[in-house]
Structures are given as structure tokens and as C-alpha cells.
């Protein structure tokens, strides 16, 4: 690949907000006014800091109840995993799978994918960056789908309040889990996949 074909090699920077190409030393985008930078600022540090935050939040999100059901005077607290088990017991395999994928698989895959990508930048890979960029795109794409469980809690809480008979209340894990989703989305947003390619160019050229 011709190294002069990148924006950076031609002394250009592309605006992250409006895609305009301007000279790399311009401070603000002449079209939209956004702050210009050739690569996302402190990309790796921010990504890792946010990832660590999300990893810590993931603990209370899983050990505390996400939802509390008061039925005939008794309270049943259910965690995220508890909700999945409940759905399996009800025989709703497809829905149990949806919740398991959205609440357990997606956040965990995002953690591993972003840790791996950050490590890849550090390790200076010579090839395979097309796959890594695809992995990054997927990480960005699936991020918000983890919110499904939080929305389920919001809907059940709003709908189910039958006096002393049956009431569903939100648990503290719902807040933690919403935090996990938002912070991992921010972490994915802070990562700059162009860093992978910069290293490849340095190594080849």
C-alpha cells in the first residue's frame, strides 16, 4: 500500500464531526468549528481508563439485584443471571438467549475486544488490521444493545403495580449496569483504529 495515500502522510487531518479534510496544523475545522486533531486525543489512555471503570462497575451490576418482585407479601430479588435462569425455567429459550447475549456476552466481548485492540496498538502488528478494524466496528455497533435488560426493568416497573398482589421494583444493579453500557460505549468511542494502521505503515516503510 502506498503510504502517501493516507491523510496524515499528506499533512492533512480529517474532522471527526463533519469529515472535512484540512491541513494538519489547523486548530478548528473551518466548516463545522470542531476542535481538530489528526488522531483522537490520548486515545489509548482514555480507552483503558474507561475500560477499567466499566470492569469495576460490572461487579455490582452482577451481584446486586436488578429487579425486585413483591408477590403476595414476599420479595424475590433477581440478578441479571437470575433473570436468564428464570426465563430458561419458563421455557422461553429464545428470549433467555437474547438476554444472555445482550447482558453477559456483549459487555464481556466488548471488554476483551477493546483490551485486545489496545494491546494490538502497543504490540505494533504487521498485518491483520483489516480484521481488527472490523472487530472495532462490531464493538461500536453492538454497544447499545446491552441496554435491553435495563429497558426491560423500566417497562416491568412501569407496568406491574397491582397493589399488594404483584409489584415490580427496580434494583440498584440496573443503575450499575446502565453505567457499564454507557462507559463501554464511551471507551469504544475513545479508541482510534487508525493507530493500528499507523504502526503497520511505520513497520513496513
Amino acid at each position: 500500500m502506498n503510504p502517501a495515500a493516507t491523510a496524515a502522510a499528506r499533512g492533512l487531518a480529517s474532522c471527526h464531526l463533519c469529515c472535512k479534510l484540512v491541513a494538519a496544523d489547523v486548530a478548528h475545522c473551518p466548516r463545522c468549528g470542531a476542535h481538530m486533531h489528526q488522531r483522537k486525543v490520548d486515545s489509548l489512555q482514555r480507552t483503558l481508563a474507561l475500560l477499567v471503570t466499566a470492569s469495576v462497575l460490572y461487579i455490582p451490576a452482577n451481584i446486586y439485584p436488578i429487579m425486585i418482585t413483591d408477590q403476595f407479601g414476599t420479595s424475590i430479588e433477581s440478578t441479571i443471571i437470575g433473570g436468564v435462569v428464570l426465563l430458561i425455567n419458563l421455557g422461553s429459550w429464545p428470549i433467555a438467549l437474547v438476554i444472555f447475549v445482550a447482558s453477559v456476552m456483549v459487555p464481556l466481548s466488548k471488554f476483551f475486544a477493546l483490551y485486545y485492540l489496545a494491546w494490538s496498538v502497543h504490540r505494533q502488528p504487521a498485518s491483520g488490521n483489516r480484521q481488527r478494524t472490523l472487530l472495532y466496528t462490531l464493538t461500536e455497533l453492538i454497544g447499545k444493545w446491552s441496554m435491553v435488560d435495563v429497558f426491560v426493568v423500566a417497562i416491568l416497573v412501569a407496568l406491574v403495580h397491582l397493589g399488594g398482589l404483584l409489584v415490580i421494583r427496580p434494583g440498584i444493579a440496573a443503575v450499575s449496569f446502565a453505567g457499564v453500557v454507557i462507559v463501554t460505549m464511551l471507551a469504544a468511542h475513545s479508541f482510534d483504529p487508525r493507530l493500528l494502521w499507523d504502526k503497520e505503515e511505520q513497520n513496513n516503510g
Binding site: Y136, V148, L156, A158, V175
Partner: protein, 202 residues
Amino acid sequence: MATLIGCQGCDMLVDLTAMPEGGRANCPRCGHFLARYRSDAVARALAYCISAAIALVIANCFAFLTMGAAGLQTTMTLPETAIMLYRYGMPDLAILVGGFILVLPALALTLIMAICVPLTLGYAAPWLVDSARVLYTLNEWSMVEVFLIGVIVSLVKLSQMAEVQLGYSFWAYVAFSVFFTLAVSTLDRFHCWQRIEAVQLS
């Protein structure tokens, strides 16, 4: 220069001069999405946007879900998903949920209209740049379609203990999510900004 784009995935420069009608461009080096093109994108986005706005108003006016068990009945409306969380002492979560499913999508619709109407008329409105900046910054935080999956999961969870009926608002929200997604994806970032620049220079 004007039709060159720097790929956000790998920084490769790609020329988007001759994009076919209805076409979609990906980076030849890393495969990252670059842009999609339709000559009538602004008019289409505006049409989808108006449809979505009507559906969203309807979705807020009627019952979303109704549940009956043991002779008792409860009804919820769309804004109540956020309001009830607030009443249970979780204002932070209430703001997030209300923001992701109602406020941000409504704001996005307003901004798309604020951009598309002047662009259609060829009028260099002073709010164009700021509207587009806010729109493209906040876009990824709308979770309309995720909420719909949440509704379906809730229905299955409840089906064992109670009878649940879908209200008019539910169907309106389904229509809203379709039109909203179409409006957002039609108003391509690269080409929208080019139109804004063109109308300001003319």
C-alpha cells in the same frame, strides 16, 4: 479535494466523486463504512422525519401496554417507563431511559427538520452548522430499536403471570422506530455536510 474523504478506520484517502445513485462506499483498505449517496437524500430524510414525528406524538398519547391479572388491570404509557423509575427513587436511571428512548430521538427529529427544510429551500439558515454538529454528536445515543426488543422480552416475561395487551402507542412506536432509523441513515454525514457547505457558499 472537496470529494476526498479520510477514512475514520485507517486514515486512507478515498475519492467519492462518482458515487452511484443509492450506492454505499466502504474503505478499500480496511472495509470501514464511508458514505452512502442519494441525490434526493435531503427530501427523503425530511419525509421520513415528518412521519416519525407524527408516530412519536401518537406513541405518547395512548396506552402502551395493558396488563390484567386476578381481576385487576394496569396500564402504562410510554413516558411512564421513565417516570415510574423516578418515583421509585432512581432519578439518574429515569433520565437515562427517558433520554435514550424519547428525548434524544425527539431532539434528533427536530434537528433533522431544522437541517432539511433550509437545505430544500436553498436557504443558508444561521442554525445549520450548530444543528448538524449536535445531530452528529448525539446520534449514536438514540436507542429506539433496542427499546423495542426490550418490550418484546418484557411481554414474554409477563406472559406467564398475566394477560398483556398491546396498546395503540406500541404500534405507533414500532412505526416511529422504522421511520426514525430510515431518517437517520438517509441523512448521510459526509453528503449532508457537503450540502450545508454548498448552501452557505452560494
